[in-house]
């Protein structure tokens, strides 16, 4: 290794040099990769919105009260519904769900899990279509998880994934009510 008793100046200089050089390098890396990262996010978001608003072919962003809502439009440029991202605490971390609501019928028309850290094989099954189909054409409001749904507001759960299922249920419920709160009645 270099000098035995290097001066304090030398020590500080070495660290600062590495730090500055590294920061510049990373700034370059960030600028290079950021567009791709944003593109992935945008694409995932678009996929989610179009899934939860089945008749939509495009969407427009609208901000209200610090929340970002997405208006979906079909080919005839008719509005088909509003979507919003909502999250609830799951088993490992937060579960992020995109919820779509048809304002005319005051129903949730779709849900899509965006991001989660749930257990593979168990909680992660909340991304399965069979489960998410529970949330098509549900009245906006509170729901209950049961084994064999009979009532309108009852949802079928997944064995061994109680908490993850609860999280999605709460997120759809919360997201749906949030949309009605901002867009129901007056538009």
């Amino acid at each position: 290794m270099a000098d035995q008793r290097a001066s304090i100046k030398r020590l500080i200089f070495t660290l600062t040099f590495i730090g500055v050089f590294g920061s510049l390098f990373l700034a370059f890396v960030f600028n290079w990769t950021n567009p791709y990262i944003l593109e992935h996010e945008a694409r995932a978001r678009e996929e989610a919105i179009l899934t939860v608003l089945p008749d939509a072919v495009r969407y427009e962003e609208e901000e209200r009260n610090d929340y970002t809502f997405y208006r979906g439009y079909d080919e005839q440029d008719q509005e088909v519904g509003i979507a919003v991202e909502y999250s609830e605490a799951g088993y490992q971390a937060f579960v992020y769900v995109m919820v779509g609501v048809d304002l005319n019928r005051e129903e949730v028309v779709g849900a899509h899990v965006l991001n989660h850290q749930e257990t593979p094989g168990l909680g992660a099954r909340i991304t399965e279509e069979d489960f998410l189909n529970n949330f098509r054409d549900l009245p906006v409001g509170e729901y209950e998880v049961v084994d064999s749904p009979e009532e309108e507001y009852e949802i079928e759960g997944i064995a061994g994934a109680t908490i993850s299922v609860e999280a999605v249920k709460e997120a759809v419920s919360g997201g749906g009510m949030l949309i009605m709160e901002h867009f129901g009645g007056d538009r």
Binding site: G19, G22, S23, L26, A27, V29, F30, A89, Y91, Q92, A93, F94, T162, I163, E166, A167
Partner: protein, 196 residues
């Protein structure tokens, strides 16, 4: 839920339900390295908890007022590790001054707190979960307590194990990991107790 209740649940949730070591896999190296005796383990836990709480505090400030304010989020890992390394250095000097005996007992493990993934992991979770200032400090403290709990429990078991007949191949690391696995099962019982 009022703020205090939330903080309490955050604390319990982090110590038990999402225990850093047994459930989130953070802090394994020191977990295996310093857990032979309860007393060393406890001291290590104490030092780590202190570093974690201070880290949470400073990381929140740095992240909010420097990184996010100036659009330097890509320097996050660098900034955080610098904060952690500096704090560990500071703690080292303080312990050396206050209790040379403890300093000697902890030995090499003190500087190794810097590479304790539990601290870095905790620091990264603060911007990730969007904790505010108070929440960050509670979270950091709780993470340390959870870590201390896990490491002390395992040390207790290991101390008892010294009088048992462990097959030679399993001695040391293997049996500790297996015990941790069983303990992890026990801790999983806390799941769902508190959802934060």
């Amino acid at each position: 839920m009022i703020e205090f209740e939330y903080l309490l649940f955050l604390f319990l949730g982090t110590v038990l339900v999402n225990n850093f070591v047994l459930i989130q896999f953070l802090g394994i190296c020191p977990f295996l390295g310093v857990s032979s005796y309860v007393e060393t383990a406890f001291n290590m836990g104490l030092a780590t908890t202190f570093v974690m709480t201070m880290t949470a505090f400073i990381v929140y400030l740095v992240n909010t007022f420097i990184l996010e304010a100036f659009n330097l989020v890509f320097l996050q890992y660098m900034a955080f590790i610098i904060v952690i390394a500096s704090l560990v250095q500071l703690v080292e000097m303080v312990i050396r001054y206050v209790s040379p005996v403890l300093y000697k007992a902890l030995g090499i493990y003190l500087p190794l707190i810097t590479t304790n993934c539990a601290i870095m992991g905790m620091a990264l979770m603060i911007p990730l979960e969007g904790y505010n200032f108070i929440e960050s400090i509670v979270f950091g403290f709780a993470a340390g307590v959870g870590f201390t709990l896990a490491i002390v429990l395992i040390a207790g078991l290991r101390e008892k194990l010294q009088f048992e007949d462990v097959p030679e191949s399993l001695q040391g690391v293997p049996i500790t990991l297996i015990m941790a696995g069983i303990m992890g099962l026990a801790f999983m019982g806390f799941a769902g107790m508190i959802t934060v």
